[in-house]
Symmetry: C2
Subunit: 141 residues, 2 copies
DNA sequence: CAACTTCTATAAGTACGTGATACGAATTGG
DNA sequence: CCAATTCGTATCACGTACTTATAGAAGTTG
């Protein structure tokens, strides 16, 4: 009989992730963009121009929601649209330079906030979290 | 000179937490309550009855937002209000049995979803995450 | 007890999501 | 080769979840 699997309690991890997330959120700039907007921008940054419906599916929202989100992001200069030369129905959404810069600023702000929180964390705990980080990244791949 | 501190990159942790959180969110029931509603209910469950403004501050929303949230939660039977015998201005918000049951169902659903995700994670990674879990809980205390 | 402060509620506006539906562009079968 | 269908996006009507500004009742205080 093989050894029992590691005792990682999904419910505990779920709650912990939610609470850390809330903590991080507290330190947000006052007029932060929405979760979906941020996630969509990050996706556009990572993967390049994408279709509306593709984004909607990937982000788990409906197509009308993505249409509206892109409209707002376009209005704020964070993204723009381009026609697909190969298919006249398609809209390709792209992140703009301002969008990338916003993501960059957002990362700095959050990093600073988290760094402040980490002051109260023991070196041991910090090391444990650092050790688990690559695993968390693979989980959320 | 003491050893250099562990190299935990706040920006990386922030992004990883956001992405794990998004993953967990994907597997939500279709008509899930809002982040703030869930967090507020959990707080009421943990800490017992609380005032409106106390909840608003703790959750990082404005007082009118909390008034409205409590109204909605009350309408759905998840929470109720009681007068404070010591101060006629105060409303004490309490979680109801239905509220507790909702939290419990929500935890099961999310745990099941996360458990499904963990199938694709190596034993080593799972062990690393399990080892870091108490540290994450202390961070989010 | 009049003036101030505290606590909650209301009002008006915006962002963000939904389902239903419209409509032009692409694909397809007879 | 064109009528029917499917695909990709937009629009509409609606509900929720926030914001700021303000009102108003209950406590506190000089």
């Amino acid at each position: 009989m093989p050894a029992a699997r590691t005792a990682l309690d999904p419910a505990r991890l779920t709650v912990a992730v939610e609470r850390v997330f809330s903590l991080l959120r507290q330190g947000n700039p006052p007029n932060d963009i929405s979760l979906t907007a941020a996630s969509t921008l990050r996706r556009l940054e990572r993967e390049g121009p994408r279709r509306l419906t593709e984004l909607a599916t990937a982000e788990g929202v409906t197509q009308p929601a993505m249409t509206q989100l892109v409209q707002r992001m376009e209005r704020e200069g964070l993204a723009d649209r381009a026609a697909d030369p190969a298919d006249g129905r398609v809209v390709l959404v792209r992140i703009t330079r301002a969008g990338s810069e916003l993501l960059e600023r957002r990362r700095s702000v959050r990093a600073a906030h988290l760094a402040a929180l980490l002051v109260d964390v023991s070196d041991d705990d910090e090391a444990l979290i650092a050790a688990a980080l690559p695993a968390l990244e693979r989980l959320a791949k």
